[in-house]
């Protein structure tokens, strides 16, 4: 609100408009038309991009979900057929389950580790170098991260299994075993994203007011008490936002799976995005693929809404 007032007071256009008003209504109208041309010109390229590559595909994606479409012949309206099929498709529900399992493991591990790293950095050092090191995996692509871990975790020749053998645990088929494949992919993506998440939380920690901590220390509160009674409650809105963001990103997992296991072994890593991709580009059933995308969109919408309600993300205890 305050910004708008300031704008009006300081806006040089306002002065010009005032002058125009004194001159009469005709000039004012033409001045207004002239005033509209400039914003339009400034907005045109981005506006075009928004309409063509954001709004139109969103509408079209929803429309395609009600059609049968193989890319070669025009889309044919089939009503709710795709959605009826979706409800009865065991592979869809499987892949949704796999995706949820992945998200739970990925987000759980990542949030805990990131929180620990952020708290440690907050206590120990604010070194930019260390923050840079922690962030470095985020700079390389998912594909690069997936390939290097594929090699490190190789059942026969991977160094991780060499170490496990040496320790007497025996080698584990990290990406070739149905039980381990999803946890492994979740861990690979934790490696790439935990530093980024930690720095987000770290930035949040920096904004917590010192006065509260000083008061707690004067009252004789120990570090543990301070953490649970002050840091965590104050950090809650920040953690909530980080969670919403990372969960939405996590649901869209594709690259790592596509490069390492392509859905196997025995469909154990057939995450939703991979199933959608395979439906569209492997079997050319774009209509059904679009329906599954809509389903994912709805799932993400519901999760965001629930999280928002549960965590009261927009409220902070500092208010």
């Amino acid at each position: 609100m305050s910004t708008t007032t300031r704008q009006i007071v300081l806006d040089p256009d306002a002065a010009r408009n005032r002058r125009a008003r004194e001159r009469g209504p005709v000039t004012r109208r033409s001045a207004r038309r002239r005033g509209l041309l400039l914003p339009l010109a400034f907005l045109a390229p981005a506006g075009l991009g928004y309409l063509v590559f954001y709004l139109w595909p969103t509408v079209r994606g929803i429309w395609l979900s009600f059609t049968s479409f193989n890319l070669l012949t025009p889309a044919e309206f089939v009503g709710l057929d795709n959605y009826r099929r979706l409800v009865q498709d065991p592979l869809f529900w499987d892949s949704l389950g796999i995706t949820v399992w992945y998200v739970v493991l990925n987000i759980g591990l990542q949030t805990v580790l990131a929180l620990i790293i952020a708290l440690m950095m907050h206590q120990l050092t604010r070194s930019t170098f260390l923050r840079g090191v922690v962030l470095s995996p985020f700079m390389v692509s998912n594909v690069v991260a997936a390939l290097v871990w594929l090699w490190i975790l190789d059942t026969q020749f991977g160094v991780a299994n060499q170490v496990l053998e040496w320790l007497g645990v025996g080698s584990i088929g990290f990406l070739t075993d149905e039980f381990w494949s999803i946890p492994t992919i979740a861990a690979i993506n934790v490696w790439r994203h935990m530093g980024y998440t930690a720095l987000l939380i770290f930035a949040g920690l920096q904004t917590l007011p010192d006065t509260v901590y000083e008061a707690a220390r004067i009252d004789g509160a120990g570090e543990t008490r301070i953490f649970f009674s002050i840091t965590m409650p104050l950090l809650r809105p920040i953690l909530a936002l980080v969670l919403i963001m990372t969960i939405i990103g996590s649901f869209q997992v594709f690259d790592t799976v596509a490069v390492t296991t392509s859905g196997g072994p025995a469909n154990s890593t057939n995450v939703l995005q991979l199933y959608i991709y395979d439906m569209a580009f492997g079997r050319f059933q774009f209509g059904y693929a679009a329906a599954m995308s809509v389903a994912l969109l709805i799932v993400l919408g519901i999760i965001t809404f629930i999280q928002f309600k549960l965590t009261r993300a927009n409220k902070t205890d500092l208010d």
């Binding site: 509209l36 580790l113 260390l130 998912n142 594909v143 290097v148 490190i152 190789d154 720095l199 904004t207």
Partner: protein, 319 residues
């Protein structure tokens, strides 16, 4: 959706540097056992973070035969630059086969060029067009401005993944499949985030500076290009680096659009390299050399701008 509540346009703090509140916390003279433990844990995290980078290099500089003989050697078991030679097509077919490479060679020069073109197109286009739009939203006055801005922001709520399928159909209709322009186009004009990020900054440029230029007879367009853009050099650079990295690292969208060397970018080429590996055993030396080639430009970019990138992560507009 998640980003909206945190960012208050009235807050005069688009500078990414976290508040220096923590600096005031008193330092203890002697390290407590807790601190020592935290440092040890931190060192462990740094080790896990950096080890894969080292392993990539160590593997890329070995021969495949020696990797299979001595998989756990810390240094390259048998030094060779053959992996890099294969990646750049500098080995004959017989040589490549003898060293455990694939019969058909991929020449990565081409993919580097394609990646450079795509990332540059996306970054330059997005920066310019988003800055223009952000300026129209932040500084120009026109009816319906806040409504239109709200509609743009709503674009943040649709996960990118949802628009991929319909955008593929559109790019196909435009005849831009297997074309670098087709890869760049959807993100070349705008992302809601970029507009949002730059608008935040423009809102905080003192109006007096623009007023002074207006009084000197500089046009609105002139003010944008000669006064506002130079002042926004820092956030533009940060956004540019992040955009470049995102475009460079993208896999899913180029995977849909590019099929041959004409448009194949590095991430997609890596996937193909992995898929083409000989049946007898993966060409790990070559694959890690290729991975390194794909990652190196980002590692260099990061090394050059680490401070800027690290400090950009905060709650002034999440990504």
């Amino acid at each position: 959706m998640s980003t909206i509540p945190t960012v208050d346009p009235a807050t005069p703090a688009p500078t990414p540097t976290p508040a220096p509140a923590a600096a005031a916390r008193p330092r203890r003279p002697r390290p407590t056992p807790g601190k020592v433990l935290a440092w040890v844990a931190m060192a462990l995290i740094v080790l896990v973070t950096l080890f894969p980078f080292y392993w990539m290099l160590r593997t890329a500089l070995s021969t495949n035969a020696s990797l299979y003989e001595d998989p756990a050697a810390v240094l390259p078991p048998e030094f060779s630059t053959g992996g890099f030679a294969r990646v750049f097509g500098a080995q004959s077919q017989e040589e490549a086969l003898a060293e455990g490479g694939a019969a058909t060679s991929l020449v990565f020069w081409r993919y580097i060029v394609n990646s450079l073109i795509v990332a540059t197109l996306v970054t330059v286009g997005q920066l310019l067009f988003c800055a223009m739009a952000a300026y129209a939203f932040a500084r120009l006055r026109w009816p319906g401005r806040d409504l239109v801005f709200g509609i743009f922001l709503a674009g943040l709520m649709v996960p990118t993944i949802f628009t991929l399928l319909p955008n593929f159909v559109l790019i196909k209709e435009l005849g831009l499949i297997d074309n670098v322009l087709g890869i760049a186009l959807p993100t070349m004009f705008m992302t809601p985030f970029a507009i949002f990020f730059l608008r935040q900054f423009f809102l905080n440029i003192p109006r007096e500076i623009e007023e002074a230029a207006l009084l000197d007879g500089v046009s609105r367009v002139g003010i944008f290009f000669k006064v506002v853009l130079p002042m926004a050099a820092a956030p533009m650079a940060t956004l540019g680096i992040l955009t470049y990295m995102t475009a460079w690292n993208d896999y899913f969208w180029p995977l849909m659009v590019s099929y041959t060397d004409d448009s194949r970018v590095l991430t997609v080429a890596l996937g193909v390299f992995r898929a083409q590996s000989p049946q007898t055993g993966t060409d790990w030396a070559g694959l890690m050399a290729a991975t390194l080639v794909a990652a190196l430009p980002m590692v260099v970019l990061f090394a050059l701008f680490a401070k800027r990138i690290v400090n950009s992560i905060g709650f002034n507009g999440l990504k």
